[in-house]
Amino acid sequence: MKVTIDGIPVEVEPGTSILNAARQIGGDIVPPAMCYYSKLEGSGGKCRTCLVQVSKGSEKDPRPMPKLVASCRTTVMDGMEVKNITSPEVIEARKGVVEMLLINHPLDCPVCDQAGECHLQDLGFEHGAVKTRYEFDRRTFDKVDIGDKIQLHMTRCILCYRCVFTADQITNTRLHGILNRGDHSEISTYISKAVDNDFSGNIIDVCPVGALTDKTFRFKNRVWFTKPVEARRDCDHEKCKGEVTLWYKGEDVIRVTARKDVYGEVEDFICNTCRFDKKKTADWVIEGPRKVSHKSVISSNHYEFTPLPVVKTNPVLMEANKEQFERDTRL
């Protein structure tokens, strides 16, 4: 099936969502996704950041769709034409969604463990407004330990439901879910139940914000001061491949996570033994440093090339700045 996104044509399998078609093209035209997770069935459609405009429904029925659609849950039709960053309407709607998502978010990035690898930070930076117009108290919750290794900081939650889907699909039992409704809905466990099973740690990885954090890593370090290294071990858990990223500070492994792709989705879910219990270099076979996008704050201080000399006449730098300038002023 042929689908055109922002003027770029791509051939995809029938049944692909617009978002995944855009990911096949890659680059700036990929809509951001806060709740969609390709490895979790049924996820998506909730955060509304991936809204796109369908300017032509299909070859058969060329009428445009009346409303903006969630690209993560809309399947492509042959000949569909989609507008993402070329549509001012989409940019405006997305700005609105980002503002809404941040209304009740505490914006405590300076003390949040997720800062630096937070999707909401990226989203706010890329698509958000400079300033909020919200002048009321934000909703707050107390921090809760929902297991011996996981802390829930509900105040930061954007209710993407990813952890609920993870518990349903990756782990054996789900002991947590959404309580209440509207803006007072919250993630919580059954009364006096703790999230505790072999794969429960994955809900930390899928959380796009700092609502679910690793208690063994809490307040240990900022992610951009750590050094990610790919490593592997023979895990005896049948569902875990033992392929992880180790986060070093000096000589110490201070955190273990699953490997994440460019869209922040884990490649393979890992078991809790790998995540929480194997924190010695001796436990692992090191595969090499993890490639981190040069745009990420985590890559700072980990130069893989000689930094360019800062000279005004440097044509390469001017070229790079031009791109950056266009990117910043695009919205």
């Binding site: 903006l68 969604v97 919200y134 803006d183």
Partner: protein, 453 residues
């Protein structure tokens, strides 16, 4: 006086019992459909009648039925949406309380048309008396052989169940209703797939409003063509309107669609005018979710034609000067009503009832409520009106289900039509707490439309 189709025998004593209902010609449509018609013919009749969904959206019922997928070996379901919780709408409750057999009869006929062998009536949790009434009525019908195995010897089986909901407004949205019926959290599903393809338990399902299903009875009894003669244009048949607010005679009225709004409001046959000799200030024509209109715009359209109670005429002028038929919750406000307070009240309702699944509605409804609360209590700012309009625009159309739109429209329309009242609330903050803005110019005759040569 218009013809009554649904409420014809409403005043007969004992009409809620099977025997009295039967003696008044009840269950004739079941006999007619099951003995003489094929399911396709029933669907065809409903299509011909032009019946439009009475739950709010006004989608043609016959068309909805014909979209139902019919794969081999998969059960089909009919679900009746009796989760009526829109502020201002109480027609379904009235129907279920006083003439429950009409709904049961409609359910049997409709289920037969759709080939459903199990049907559900999903009733809002607060309506416990109505649930008991319906269950008693079902038991009566079953005892007389109108439900169960081999109904009237036609070989058609139907089981009918009443399911109480948990009392959430969002469960009136059809996919949230199905989720709730399946025993899950009542969150709307993401469409597509539509319920007609994959609904209850993944099977093809039709969800209809109580009144739509009840209207199938006169359609089958008299034929779709006869039904289509009532009403005006594409708004055919009769509609139950639950009139409330500052009226002399509030209540549930059955009207022929196409009745002028002015007649409905002021004639003695219907609402009988505004209570206590006051003047009309504003009207919400179809339940809290539709745009509110000032008195001059509800009685006349922008072209100075009288506005009629029909899907098209009420929507005349789009969102600029029109409103919607909605679910028929007609609320009238007299000159003493405060539109800001009313808008805040509606916003509070939607804030409370938002399911919290998608972000614009979850956060936006709360935001609007807080801003409106501030305006109502005299702490507002002049910029708040533009802020509210902007927030409502960001919600509208960007959500999974129509609750976002429903929350946005009343706020946006109140500011569109009553902006000076909002501004007065800001400039005279202290005074606004103690007295109302009054009628102002909201009932003034509309300016003559400019003649374009």
């Amino acid at each position: 006086m218009g013809r009554k189709l649904l409420l014809e025998h409403i005043n007969v004593p004992g009409i809620n019992t099977f025997d009295v209902y039967r003696s008044k010609g009840g269950y004739a449509s079941v006999e007619k459909a099951l003995k003489t018609m094929s399911p396709e013919a029933v669907v065809e009749e409903v299509k011909k009648s032009g019946l439009r969904g009475r739950g709010g959206a006004g989608f043609p019922t016959g068309m909805k039925w014909s979209f139902l997928a019919k794969p081999e070996g998969v059960a089909r379901y009919l679900v009746c949406n009796a989760d009526e919780s829109e502020p201002g709408t109480f027609k379904d409750r009235y129907l279920m309380t006083y003439i429950p057999h009409l709904l049961i009869e409609g359910m049997i006929t409709s289920s037969f048309a759709l080939g459903a062998n199990t049907s559900f009536i999903y009733v809002r949790g607060e309506m416990m008396p109505q649930i008991r009434i319906l269950e008693r009525a079902i038991a009566e019908a079953k005892a007389k052989g109108f439900l169960g195995k081999n109904i009237l010897g036609s070989g058609y089986d139907l089981e009918l169940y009443v399911q109480p909901g948990g009392g959430a407004y969002i469960c009136g949205e059809e996919t949230a209703l199905l989720e709730s019926l399946e025993g899950k959290r009542g969150n709307p599903r993401i469409k597509p797939p539509f319920p007609a393809i994959a609904g209850l338990y993944g099977c093809p399902t039709v969800v209809n409003n109580v009144e739509s299903i009840a209207a199938v009875v006169p359609i089958i009894n008299e034929g779709g063509d006869e039904y289509a003669k009532l009403g005006i244009g594409r708004s055919t048949g009769t509609k139950l309107i639950s009139a409330g607010g500052n009226l002399k005679k509030p209540g549930v009225y059955e009207i022929d669609l196409g009745l002028p709004v002015e007649e409905f409001l002021y004639s003695d046959e219907y609402c009988g005018g505004i209570a206590n000799g006051k003047r009309l200030k504003a009207v919400v024509a179809g339940g809290s979710s539709v745009p509110i209109l000032p008195a001059n715009l509800i009685l006349k359209t922008l072209n100075n034609e009288p506005r009629l109670m029909s899907y098209e005429s009420l929507a005349d002028g789009g969102f600029v000067s029109g409103t919607m038929m909605g679910s028929g919750g007609f609320i009238a406000y007299d000159e003493d009503a405060c539109i800001v307070r009313n808008t805040w009240n509606f916003a509070r309702f939607y804030h409370h009832e938002s399911c919290g699944q998608c972000s614009p509605c979850r956060e936006g409804t709360g935001w609007m409520e807080k801003v409106l609360h501030r305006l109502e209590h005299g702490h507002g700012k002049m910029s708040d009106m533009d802020l509210l309009v902007d927030v409502s625009k960001k919600i509208e159309g960007n959500t999974i289900c129509p609750l976002g739109d429903a929350a946005a429209w009343p706020v946006a329309s109140a500011i569109r039509h009553f902006r000076d009242e909002f501004e007065w609330h800001v400039s005279n903050g202290a005074e606004a707490v103690t007295r109302n803005y009054g009628l102002a110019h909201y009932a003034d005759p509309l300016p003559k439309p400019e003649v374009v040569a």
